[in-house]
Assembly symmetry: C2
Homo-oligomer: 218 residues x 2
């Protein structure tokens, strides 16, 4: 059982969401070409990705129901996961709120903030705790995943507390790189503002390319 490449996992996860949203005219089977078109990738990639699934049943495309089931299985969606959010500012609250919407298998069971004031005034039905309680709560509830949305200077402290609690994966939204000595912790950094900047540069590069191909510089 080969382990699935990370980009493939991400695409499969997106595909699942897409299939769920699709009002399925279950009649017509989905071809890899059609899927590729919906996802903006090539049909080759789609087939390659799907080849990691157990699904083999195919004739003139994939049965969307079967595909959904296979994805459900490989994405481990039957297993319930517990997650928590650290930092209940705007971003933290936003994630908290649409974490509820998407009735998936990942449940946000705790929120943390270092400000008592925030904890007292927040309106949510998820239980919230002070930041120093992270290790205890994470351990007691066996929380696997943490979403970190605290100011940069608090990130490392937060990460340490999470590791103390035995967290297994961290998604970090602060513009800092989280280091862990523990190889077995999965960390994923989401640097929104940096990505915005990177996007701007890619725009410039594209324009330059176009200028170069559309004629000479003067």
């Amino acid at each position: 059982m080969k382990s699935i490449p990370v980009p493939t996992i991400e695409r499969l996860s997106i595909l699942y969401t897409l299939l769920c949203r699709l009002e399925i005219s279950r009649e017509e089977p989905l071809s890899s070409a059609k899927i590729g078109e919906m996802m903006g990738i090539s049909s080759h990639t789609v087939r390659k990705d799907i080849s990691y699934l157990d699904i083999e049943g195919t004739e003139a495309g994939y049965d969307s129901e079967a595909l959904k089931n296979a994805l459900h299985k490989i994405l481990g969606l039957s297993k319930n996961r517990k997650a928590c959010i650290i930092g209940l500012g705007r971003l933290g609250c936003a994630i908290l709120s649409f974490g509820k919407y998407m009735g998936g298998n990942i449940k946000i069971v705790a929120g943390f903030d270092s400000s008592i004031n925030v904890l007292e005034t927040i309106e949510t039905d998820v239980p919230v705790y002070p930041a120093y309680d992270i290790p205890r709560i994470v351990k007691e509830n066996q929380i696997e995943i943490a979403v970190v949305a605290v100011p940069p200077e608090q990130v490392q402290l937060t990460a340490n507390r999470l590791l103390d609690g035995g967290i297994k994966g961290i998604i970090n939204f602060a513009p800092v790189v989280i280091k862990t000595n523990d190889e077995s912790i999965v960390v994923k950094n989401f640097h929104i503002m940096e990505e915005l900047r990177a996007l701007a540069i890619m725009i410039d590069q594209k324009e330059k390319e176009r200028m170069n191909s559309n004629g000479k510089d003067i």
Copy 2:
């Protein structure tokens, strides 16, 4: 002038933020090893990345001030960029608010929402407009970048309006893939919930690996 690989651009952008935050004891030069440690990447990668900069001055490491300047230049930070946000729900507002904080070169100059109610009650000093005004406002203000944080079913309509306005780059937070026929538009999808799911699977895979290497299955 080779174009810089996207992953490199992203790392350079992160490095810049990092250097800015660093209270620089300007005395000691930064070695690629030290930078790598801070960023959680190898010194090889750091040197390779830096080789895309104009900076050459080096002896026992890099001068952090010079590095910062070179990054500033290559990242085009002297050029002012205009951005807008579509969808002023929790996520949109969050991005709007810390877009102000990070006094970078990217300025958010407009917000859009399809709900008049939202537009009337929002508290912000960024001007806000109804969604149907996107093409006009984008064109008039020469806005280059759009951050899309609307519900999935509104994404394609939003994208079309942005393209009408002549937008150059889109960051999309909705769990839908944005398609554009126009090759020259840069689109970057941020699928938060899907990434959360992907993270969970990576955790599983790591655990499986560890079980396999730490002994047999029973």
